[in-house]
Structure formats: structure tokens, C-alpha cells
């Protein structure tokens, strides 16, 4: 890879952001702890009967994971804006959308992937039937990148404002409600023995669309935020 080529720029950005997250790995664990705590609290509130917990298991895990990801969303571009790195990214000769796609990929890899890895444990806590677990994992594998992508656009829009946390949540929530309905819907269908492929395919279609459009939208929004 020649220094200055676009692939070198993406590699440098990936390496830098992964190093930064590794140096702050304590913070990176927060979403995971949050999800575990939320899921672990439900049996205390609703009682330990397996029948009750089984009914709410998939939905609870879904909500806990999406909220846990929201926690870390606000920091996606904030530190880069505050120390001027974002200006350097915008001024670099490479397509900003591609660089942002790298940052979004890192957000997914470092927040969503660890969360998905602990899902089997969370499923055990709530007595999720074994046959539903694969459906839940597939649904989450499609829904979490969607949240990273949609969230990145909203973060790019709000990053220029101070104390944008609440506004960001208000912007993101309505956009991820359909994701939640289809994802948790697939799991509920699988649990009651109904066909669950359609909602998963819908999620896949949205993910494909968002993969192409969200980085472009985020780049445009970020340029507006910088002015």
C-alpha cells in the first residue's frame, strides 16, 4: 500500500481508532456491562418463573442491546471534532464517506460484536428456548449494523451542537423502532412456531440500503456541522 492512497488512509484510520479504543478499553466495556445489568434485572422485577421470562426474553435482549449501543453512539465523532482531527479527515484527499464508513465499521466491531458474543449468556439468564437463539443472533447481526449506520447519520447532524445527547436520542429512537419491531418480531414468530424469514429479509434489505446511503449522508451532514 502506497502512503497517501485511499486504501492506506482507511488502514491508517482503522489502526488509529482501534489503538485509541484499546488504550481506553475500560470505557469500551461499558455497553456490555449495561446490557448485562439490564437483562439481569428483569428476573428480579418479574419473578423467576421460566414461562414469564421466556415470553419476554428475545424482546428484552433486543432492547437492552440497542440501548447499550446508543450509549456509545454520541462519542463516535465527538473527540475527533474536539481535537481537530475531523478537520484533517475532511481536508484529506480521500472520499469522506469512505473514511466515515471505516469509523462506523469500527463502532460496530467494538460495541455491537462484543454484545452479540454475550447474547447466548443473556439468553440463558432469561430461559430463551434454544431453537430461537439462532434467529435472535441473525436478527441482531442485521439490526446492530443498521443502528450503527443510522446512528452515525444522526450523530453527524448533531455533533456541532453542545450537549446534543438528548437530541440525538430523540432523533435515533423513531428511526430504530422499525428495526426493533422487525427484529424482535422474527424472534417471536420463531418462538411460536411461525415463519420468521420475511422480517429478517426486510432487515437485510434495509441494511443493504443503509450500507450504501448512510456513509454518504453522514459525510454531507458532517460537512454542514463543521460550518
Amino acid at each position: 500500500m502506497k502512503p497517501g492512497s485511499t486504501s492506506a488512509a482507511c488502514a491508517a484510520l482503522l489502526r488509529r481508532d482501534l489503538t485509541l479504543i484499546w488504550r481506553r478499553r475500560g470505557d469500551a466495556l461499558n455497553p456490555m456491562l449495561f446490557a448485562i445489568i439490564v437483562v439481569a434485572l428483569f428476573p428480579f422485577a418479574l419473578g423467576p418463573e421460566p414461562a414469564t421470562l421466556q415470553r419476554i426474553a428475545a424482546g428484552t435482549i433486543f432492547v437492552a442491546l440497542l440501548l447499550a449501543m446508543l450509549l456509545s453512539l454520541d462519542t463516535l465523532f465527538r473527540s475527533d471534532l474536539e481535537d481537530g482531527s475531523l478537520e484533517q479527515l475532511v481536508l484529506s484527499p480521500h472520499p469522506l464517506a469512505l473514511l466515515l464508513a471505516c469509523k462506523i465499521a469500527i463502532h460496530w466491531l467494538t460495541t455491537a460484536l462484543p454484545l452479540i458474543v454475550i447474547v447466548p449468556l443473556l439468553a440463558q439468564l432469561l430461559h430463551l428456548p434454544d431453537r430461537v437463539l439462532p434467529v435472535l443472533l441473525v436478527a441482531l447481526a442485521l439490526a446492530t449494523p443498521l443502528l450503527s449506520l443510522i446512528g452515525a447519520v444522526c450523530v453527524a447532524l448533531t455533533v456541532g451542537m453542545r450537549r446534543s445527547g438528548m437530541l440525538l436520542t430523540l432523533l435515533v429512537l423513531p428511526l430504530i423502532v422499525p428495526v426493533l419491531i422487525f427484529g424482535a418480531g422474527a424472534c417471536n414468530a420463531a418462538q411460536t412456531g411461525l415463519a420468521f424469514a420475511a422480517p429478517l429479509l426486510w432487515l437485510g434489505a434495509w441494511l443493504t440500503l443503509a450500507l450504501v446511503l448512510a456513509p454518504l449522508a453522514a459525510a454531507a451532514a458532517l460537512k454542514i456541522s463543521l460550518t
Binding site: G4, L13, R15, T19, S79, D83, G84, E87, Q88, P93
Partner: protein, 214 residues
């Protein structure tokens, strides 16, 4: 679009360039040209729009009227490719990374000038041996020197430096002047802002005066 031959066209040219924020004029209209090998000082009081002018020239902000030509062609962010390096008040360095890691990232993003390495660049800004220290442990002036080392590494012909003398000691000011001379001799050009407290000492640079809009 202009049809000027890029060989004889000045490196950077501003034509009746003006910028207004929310209808309130920040600077301009300004006309000036910057040839290769030139260092030009932008002078003005606090709030006279020096930083904004640099942002417009780098393409970060759209001018309200007028145009910026780079090698005789209209400037767009997409066309900037490796030609402009901006050093602003925010240095664009990560405190958690070491000086060398920061510089390697800059090279990955902007490319590498011929015949220089990150170690050499650090040595020439007087930070030999600080390469593996986290940036957080360096002083404000030393961080600024790391940002200056980035300018040496990235192959940009035009340097836009916002208050490059701020936070630097006497040696540091001397260093900035040496870097600017070196850059100009190598066919580069630089625009630097200053509120007048320090000055570029080698020769008498051309000055562009900005006045705070009433």
C-alpha cells in the same frame, strides 16, 4: 471556470473573496495571489476573520461570494488532493497516541513527502527521543512542534498556518521561521496568520491586512 495555464497560474488566488455568517460580514472582499516560494502574513486584530479566511481558503467553508483558485482552477474539497495542509488552533492530534503514532496516521491519510521519515521530522522540530511518549505527557509547545512535524511529512505545497507562533518559546519561533524558509525554498508557499505579537523575521514578507467588519 478559469482557463489559465496551470504552469504560470499562481499557486493560490483569491478573487473578491468574502465570507458572511448569518448575513453578518466576517471579512472581504479580498483580492490576492500567492506564488510558489512565497510566505505571506495575514495580519489583523482578534475577531477580524483570520481563522475564517484560512478555513475558506482550505475549502472547509464555502465563500459567500468570490472564488478561490488553486493552480488556476476553482477550489473544491474533492480537488484538494495532497495540496493544502492546514494547521489550526486545534492541532488534530490524539492525546492517547504517541507522537510517532500520530505522525504515522497523518502519513497514511495525507501521503509522505520524498526523503523524510517520521523520526527525521521529529528530530528537525527538536523532539528527538520523544517519539514514543504519549502526547498527553508533552507540553503545549511540544504538541505544537509535533503538529509542525506533520507539515514536514505531508507533501502539501500550500501551508495554511493559523497562529503558528502561539505557545512556542523563542527557539520554537525560530524553528517555525526555519521551516517556512525551507518550505518556500522548496517551491512551496505559506499563508500565516498573526495578531502581530510575533513576526516572520526572514526578509520582509508580504502582508495582507484584515480589518474587523463594523
Amino acid at each position: 471556470m478559469s482557463t489559465v495555464d496551470p504552469v504560470i497560474a499562481p499557486l493560490l488566488q483569491a478573487r473578491s473573496l468574502a465570507y458572511a455568517r448569518n448575513e453578518e460580514p466576517i471579512f472581504g472582499p479580498l483580492d490576492f495571489a500567492l506564488a510558489a516560494g512565497e510566505v505571506v502574513l495575514i495580519e489583523g486584530d482578534n475577531g477580524s476573520g483570520k481563522t475564517t479566511l484560512l478555513k475558506v481558503l482550505s475549502g472547509l467553508l464555502e465563500p459567500t461570494s468570490g472564488e478561490v483558485l488553486l493552480h488556476g482552477e476553482a477550489l473544491t474539497l474533492a480537488k484538494l488532493s495532497h495540496q493544502v495542509a492546514l494547521l489550526g488552533h486545534l492541532l488534530g492530534l490524539k492525546l492517547e497516541l504517541t507522537a510517532l503514532e500520530n505522525l504515522r496516521f497523518a502519513i497514511g491519510l495525507g501521503g509522505l513527502r520524498r526523503g523524510i521519515t517520521p523520526q527525521l521530522a521529529l528530530a528537525s522540530v527538536g523532539l528527538d527521543g520523544y517519539g514514543d511518549q504519549p502526547l498527553r505527557s508533552l507540553s503545549v509547545g511540544q504538541k505544537k512542534r509535533v503538529a509542525l512535524a506533520r507539515l514536514l511529512l505531508v507533501p502539501a505545497a500550500l501551508w495554511l498556518l493559523d497562529e503558528p507562533y502561539a505557545n512556542l518559546d523563542r527557539d520554537g519561533i525560530e524553528l517555525v521561521n526555519r521551516l517556512l524558509d525551507h518550505h518556500a525554498r522548496g517551491g512551496g508557499a505559506a499563508l500565516i496568520t498573526s495578531h502581530g505579537a510575533y513576526a516572520y523575521t526572514s526578509g520582509t514578507p508580504r502582508r495582507i491586512a484584515l480589518q474587523a467588519a463594523a
